[in-house]
Amino acid sequence: MELVLSIGIGIMTGSGVWLILRPRTYQVIIGLSLLSYAVNLFIFGVGGVKSNAAPLLGEGVDISTVTDPVPHALVLTAIVIGFATTALFLVVLLAARGLTGTDHVDGREQPK
């Protein structure tokens, strides 16, 4: 499982990094979203991955077998903050596009 997840994280990171290095604001925002998926999964994976061991207490739940809940809480916070910042970045890129007329990240078309 770790292998699959970490390959997935790697691919998402690679795609995200590629995109944030592109010149169009839309590419950057997609890249940032992909990167935040990757990072969220990374945080999540740090606690060790276990299937079917949700940290929910109840009768018959042995707390030594459930997964580490801390990374989950961290990911939740990270998701929320990621959502907020994505929204913000979107609006800023729209505002920039409106003011500069271009969707280039630098607000002007680069000479080729």
Partner: protein, 93 residues
């Protein structure tokens, strides 16, 4: 006995659904037009929802149910927005 039967059927179901997801993803990337991709996303949503339900059965836990419910209940919102964007060029008028 029932364990074996269930194991096989659950595994079969999961394979089917995973394959279905892969096919939906294929259509998603192939298009050819935007509406195909959007429809593929919707299909992917449904397939994943089903996969998660089967997963819930495999683990015997009902706690994963809400995730499926959210997909079933709210998944269409994104697709509606996409479809409306295709039709009107604008999501909220």
């Amino acid at each position: 006995m029932s364990h074996t039967i269930l194991l096989w059927s659950v595994t079969f179901a999961q394979i089917c659904l995973a394959t279905a997801m892969a096919l939906a993803a294929l259509r998603m990337s192939r298009g050819p037009r935007a509406q195909d991709r959007v429809l593929a996303l919707d299909t992917l949503y449904v397939n994943s929802m089903l996969l998660l339900m089967v997963f819930g059965m495999r683990t015997g836990k009902v706690i994963y149910f809400e995730a499926s419910l959210v997909m079933g209940m709210l998944g269409f919102v994104a697709t509606v927005a996409l479809a409306k964007f295709l039709m009107r060029g604008e999501v909220i008028e």
